[in-house]
């Protein structure tokens, strides 16, 4: 594993350029944030296939829908808050309902947007995108996974939402690592619990697993970067094998990874589960690191949640044992 720290949005821009070289059908739209989303790399290389729509996200999304109906493969980008929130109904009715092949790639998801504060920190985007029928939702955790997710989205027929961060992220995957939409992966072996994590929180989860290991707790980490359709068999087998779960996401507690994993557990293996997420709050201004601490998105918070999950698992086991040994009256 390498310890490189790379920008996922820069990788997005570079990937767009490579895709553009491979296919003339690739078109890119932005809404006055092409420097921040890094779609300007594509704009520079293929100016005739780049459309800056100005500050008009709704127009951008429906224009992308039209392009897809006319045979193009559009990528539309802005910050996560504006790319999903401002134009949710356009995404639902103009993109997803007719089954348009539109890829929405948003940067600046979560609180680590930093000092711009609450208005710019999307903590609901995954929830509202997941709620749209047929929508694919991916939250990659590093530059390599980002590139593979973008490439997969390009050739996948149907609407896709990909959420990236403003912050650079450590690279944990290499070229040989397989990526398939809807397939998760175990990035660390362990038996006592499974931590399901995505995006930036996957790295926080890895730190948490190190801390847990020092206390003799062996945590498995599963990256379920495709939140929809989630890798249900991976989630179920992890639950069965480790007996309890923690989810970790840079998102509001409602509707995101926690609910996506929880839905599978409820149906397959209802094991004790704890969630690490923003606890139903809006973001605020601050340094990304301070904000992660403020909102309890830390290795320590994951450690605590892990211990709670394990405790509940043991309590359940003890109760089951008691029931077994109890002599019928």
């Amino acid at each position: 594993m390498s310890s490189r720290i790379l920008s996922t949005r820069a990788e997005y821009g570079q990937t767009l350029v490579r895709l553009g070289e491979r296919s003339r059908d690739i078109v890119v739209l932005d809404a006055d944030l092409s420097g921040s989303t890094c779609t300007n790399a594509f704009a520079k290389r293929f100016p005739e296939r780049f459309f800056n729509m100005g500050i008009s996200e709704q127009d951008m999304i429906c224009t992308a829908a039209g392009m897809s109906l006319a045979g193009k493969i559009p990528f539309a980008s802005s910050f996560a808050i504006f790319a999903t929130g401002r134009c949710w109904e356009q995404i639902r009715n103009a993109v997803a309902l007719p089954g348009c092949n539109v890829n929405i790639v948003a940067t600046h998801g979560g609180v680590t947007v930093g000092k711009d504060g609450a208005s710019h920190q999307a903590l609901e985007d995954v929830a509202i995108m997941r709620a749209i029928p047929t929508m694919t939702v991916i939250v990659p955790c590093d530059a390599v996974e980002t590139r593979k997710a973008i490439e997969a989205a390009a050739w996948y027929d149907g609407p896709v939402y990909i959420r990236l961060t403003r912050e650079n992220l450590p690279v944990i995957y290499d070229e040989a690592s397989p990526f398939r939409i809807g397939v998760g992966s175990i990035v660390r072996a362990g038996d006592d619990l499974t931590i399901f994590a995505v995006g930036l929180m996957l790295h926080i989860a890895r730190e948490a697993a190190d801390l847990l290991q020092r206390e003799g707790i062996s945590a498995r980490i599963a990256n379920v970067s495709t939140l929809k359709p989630i890798d249900a068999s991976l989630v179920a087998s992890c639950a069965e094998e480790t007996g309890c779960a923690v989810t970790a996401e840079e998102h509001n507690i409602t509707g995101g990874l926690g609910d996506a994993v929880g839905e599978v557990l409820l149906k397959t293996h209802p094991v004790p589960m704890e969630r690490v997420a923003v606890n139903d709050a809006f973001g605020r201004s601050g340094d990304p690191k301070d904000l992660l601490r403020y909102f309890d998105l830390t290795p320590e918070a994951i450690v605590q949640a892990s211990k709670r999950a394990i405790e509940r698992k043991h309590a359940l086991a003890a109760r089951a044992k008691d029931r077994k040994h109890a002599t019928p009256a």
């Binding site: 006055d32 100005g54 208005s119």
Partner: protein, 283 residues
């Protein structure tokens, strides 16, 4: 505390001095914060000065008075310009300016009306402020004090469709107590507005929507005051003041610069900027 009359009698000269003080305070604040929208704030600080220190009826000691005039900073990223005006007017303390963009601060990166005294509407997502301002105008139209509502918009912001939905409804309701001011600096984040997505002709667009519209130099206080008075005198429709401005106005190396849209001055840049601003004062 000034009386309404004293406030309104401030001339262009006095307002220009206030604006220069505000620019100085703002640049220091931005430098301390280490991030923020310098160019966007310098662009509209003269307009905000004219509103808070001459035009608007508002009393910081009675900030919740229902008869007050309202200001909505629809281009919420220019929050620093609003914050220094609110400080000078007396809504917040001077020390508060040291906390721009900090975790527990009332001075969030974008204006937060629940936290910051004097902030009338939470903004930051472009395109929404004119509708919010119009809602206030509708709610206040039968108020005995006849409060007025001002909304400050970016020119790039005019690309949002919602602006034109609000333009349509404000004309439809003859909301003469609403005044939109467009900070027409010709730049947005990705470059020149005319190249990214032209919004011209701005005044004619508003006129076509049924507004009273005029175009002025947005750094000339005599023209700003005159336009605001013309807006007051127009009693059958909302007014749009298209203020031709210079993004980064007042600091030579920030002027007309896309790069200065959203960054704060470092120490050297701050002292160069302050030298320019105080130099023009003849100190």
């Amino acid at each position: 505390m000034l009386t309404d009359q004293q406030r309104r009698s401030r001339g262009p000269q006095e307002l220009a001095e206030i604006a220069r003080d505000l620019r100085i305070a703002m640049l220091k604040m931005l430098h301390k914060a280490g991030s923020g929208h310098t160019g966007s704030s310098l662009s509209c600080i003269d307009i905000i000065t004219a509103l808070y220190f001459s035009e608007m009826r508002h009393y910081p000691f009675d900030a919740e008075w229902t008869g007050r005039d309202r200001f909505v900073l629809s281009k919420g990223h220019a929050a620093p310009a609003l914050y220094v005006a609110l400080q000078r007017a007396g809504y917040i303390s001077e020390q508060t300016l040291d906390q721009l963009r900090q975790l527990e601060s009332v001075l969030q990166g974008h204006p937060d009306s629940r936290r910051c005294p004097g902030v009338e509407a939470s903004t930051g997502s472009l395109g929404q402020g004119l509708s919010v301002a119009h809602g206030m105008a509708l709610a206040l139209r039968d108020h005995p004090e006849q409060p007025r509502v001002y909304a400050l918009l970016g020119d790039g912001e005019l690309q949002e469709g919602q602006i034109w939905e609000a333009a349509m409804s404000a004309a439809h309701y003859h909301s003469a107590n609403l005044c939109a001011i467009v900070d027409h600096n010709g730049l947005q984040i990705d470059g020149v507005v005319a190249e990214i997505m032209s919004v011209e002709p701005v005044d004619e667009k508003f006129r076509a929507f049924g507004w009273h519209a005029l175009t002025i130099d947005g750094h000339d206080f005599a023209q700003i005051l005159q336009a605001l008075e013309a807006a007051q005198n127009c009693t059958d429709r909302p007014t749009a003041i298209v203020a031709k401005t210079i993004k980064g106005k007042g600091v030579s190396f920030c002027e007309n610069s896309v790069a200065w849209h959203g960054k704060a001055p470092n120490a050297a840049e701050l002292s160069a900027a302050l030298a320019e601003l105080t130099g023009s004062r003849g100190e």
